[in-house]
Amino acid sequence: MYVSVKGGEQAIENAHAWLDEARRGDTNIAEINVAQIREQLSLSVNRVMAEGSLYDPDLAALAIKQSRGDLIEAIFLIRAYRTTLPRFGYSNAIDTSAMACERRVSATFKDIPGGQILGPTFDYTHRLIDFKLAAEGNAKKASKRDNSVDKMPRVSDFLNREGLMEAVIDNGDTPADLTREPLELPANRSLRLQSLARADEGFLLSLAYSTQRGYARNHAFVGELRIGLVDVVMDIPELGFDIDIGEIQVTECETVNQFTGSKTQPPQFTRGYGLVLGQTERKAISMALVDRAMRWEELGEDDEGAPAQDAEFVLYHSDNIQATGFLEHIKLPHYVDFQAELELIRQLREDAETNLSNTEDAHEQ
């Protein structure tokens, strides 16, 4: 006697209880707390804030704890929470030239006004496992120069003065917002940049790498990479003046790319731009390269058919929450569709066998 499976509700409940238990792990080991994650796994926190599109280190740390360290799952938690938040206004554009830089490097000039600041980077570490860390993590104090420079001029501005760099023109349009409007193509540059800023780091990294290897090569120099705090300022209409509502850490990358020119226009360097929440350097550089690759049309370059040039391809596939959802949904039941396929393939095989035996009969006669 067959009884159809019941009790999905109970199974789900039990599975969730098991998940909670697995998250906690061995209870003889001290539980990790949110502040520890925020302080000691800060680059994970930064990635979750960047791709979750919400600047809140405590919430991102909590999401990482809840997701057992699965960062895409944590990003998903942040995104789902973010959409429920009311919007009471828009800040002014942040001024990254007024950034309090923790890190600032240029690959195009040996020395720059304001200086090169390495900051807390892995760049020149030797990748040797530090076994001391397994035992103790004694906090060392780093010696830092006081770096209270009011304004850090942008490297691109120096090139700009000579007219060597393409000018960026603010056409005054209100940037589109893909979290409020459906993505429609063709997407202008500001919309593309918004999409890239929340895109999956791994996807952008691979695309950017593909441009370096020749799929729409645009020969990028890191004109400047800076990481630091910027003020967030809001204009409050009732008050009639701007108010500083806090500061956020961002990573900005401007690339200087191969020049274009024509008979009428002298050659100029072109730009790629990356701006990401938090200390997220790999992502910001990747973003700048992909941004530059997608600008081929406006700069009069050839369509090489490279993946990174194809804005529709990039924008439709860069969101890891969309991608992971659709990818993983194939584990949901599909037995109705599969049944329909079963019927069809049986029928096709039957037809083919009938045809085959008819042909054989015909030969025998």
């Binding site: 006697m1 509700e9 789900i12 973010r82 109705v336 049944q339 019927e343």
Partner: protein, 285 residues
């Protein structure tokens, strides 16, 4: 989750208004895919976020909701979505098709005919019927606006040339009121005839792809075919082993290690109500 922290049926009123506008446009242009600013929902894309957003936008406190997945009320995802609305909207829920005012579905249309008082909400993974012929949205939108559907007919013709049949068994494309070609979501083609002249309002939501479309009540929907290869709503050539139904869509169930199978109704409510009326199949206790 703190229920107080969320609005009725989870979405805020502004978002609901945006979705309702898209729904109105969709009803006004049957079969046309209306872009809408789909929100991130607390369940993953691919799990029915489009259907959930449509349901959230149309539910009222007086509604009675039924959720099915693969025709069944008790599949895990149906259970999960039903409990989501129970929690966030506090609406009554039911498994009885005839008692529901809103039915959210994945991959099936209930066997019992629906009424004018009911709304059927479909979860749609890929709303674009031309997608697997042309991957670019910018192209397929153009093809729809120019009614440029030759590619689809060529595909169906090639199926016949190769296999002797149209080799599409689910998500079988339809033509709506002789204008738009529409993807009916991955329902088996057995269900396609129920799309046409249905008394209920049928709404389709694709969350990840940000599209909404609709079939108003009594819309003419035709499954694509050729005169010499007419459309056929096929199903397994068996009767339900539990309730003896001859004309319902059947799931094939493997019952033992020998690979023996039985066939049972995919629509669990239909099967259970038939058995409650005393109808039985050969395997019923």
């Amino acid at each position: 989750m703190n229920n107080e922290a969320y609005n009725f049926a989870y979405l805020d009123e502004q978002t609901k208004r945006m979705i309702r506008r898209a729904l109105l446009k969709a009803v006004a242009i049957p079969g046309y895919q209306v872009p809408f600013a789909s929100r991130e929902m607390p369940m993953p894309y691919g799990w029915g976020t489009g259907g959930v957003q449509v349901s959230a936008a149309i539910l009222t406190p007086d509604d009675r909701l039924k959720v099915i997945d693969q025709g069944a009320d008790d599949t895990t995802n149906a259970v999960s979505i039903r409990s989501f609305f129970k929690r966030t909207a506090g609406v009554q829920t039911t498994t009885a098709t005839s008692e529901a005012t809103v039915i959210q579905t994945r991959h099936r249309i209930p066997e019992v005919p629906l009424t004018e008082k009911q709304t059927l909400v479909y979860q749609v993974p890929i709303p674009e019927p031309l997608r697997f012929l042309e991957p670019r949205e910018s192209e397929t939108r153009k093809m729809h606006s120019l009614e440029e559907y030759g590619l689809m007919h060529v595909k169906l013709y090639e199926d016949i040339a190769r296999h002797g049949h149209i080799a599409t068994s689910y998500a079988y494309p339809v033509s709506v009121e002789e204008r738009y070609i529409m993807d009916p979501s991955p329902i088996p083609k057995f269900d396609n005839p129920k799309l046409s002249q249905n008394a209920a309002l049928q709404l389709f939501g694709a969350g990840r792809e940000q599209r909404i479309y609709a079939l108003p009540p009594y819309t003419k929907v035709v499954s694509l075919d050729f005169d010499d290869h007419p459309f056929e709503a096929s199903k397994a050539n068996h009767v339900c082993a539990l309730c003896g139904a001859e004309h319902s869509y059947l799931d094939e169930v493997i019952v033992d290690d020998e690979g023996n199978r039985m066939f049972v109704c995919s629509d669990t409510d239909y099967c259970e109500s038939r058995r409650a009326q005393g109808l039985t199949g050969k395997s019923a206790a």
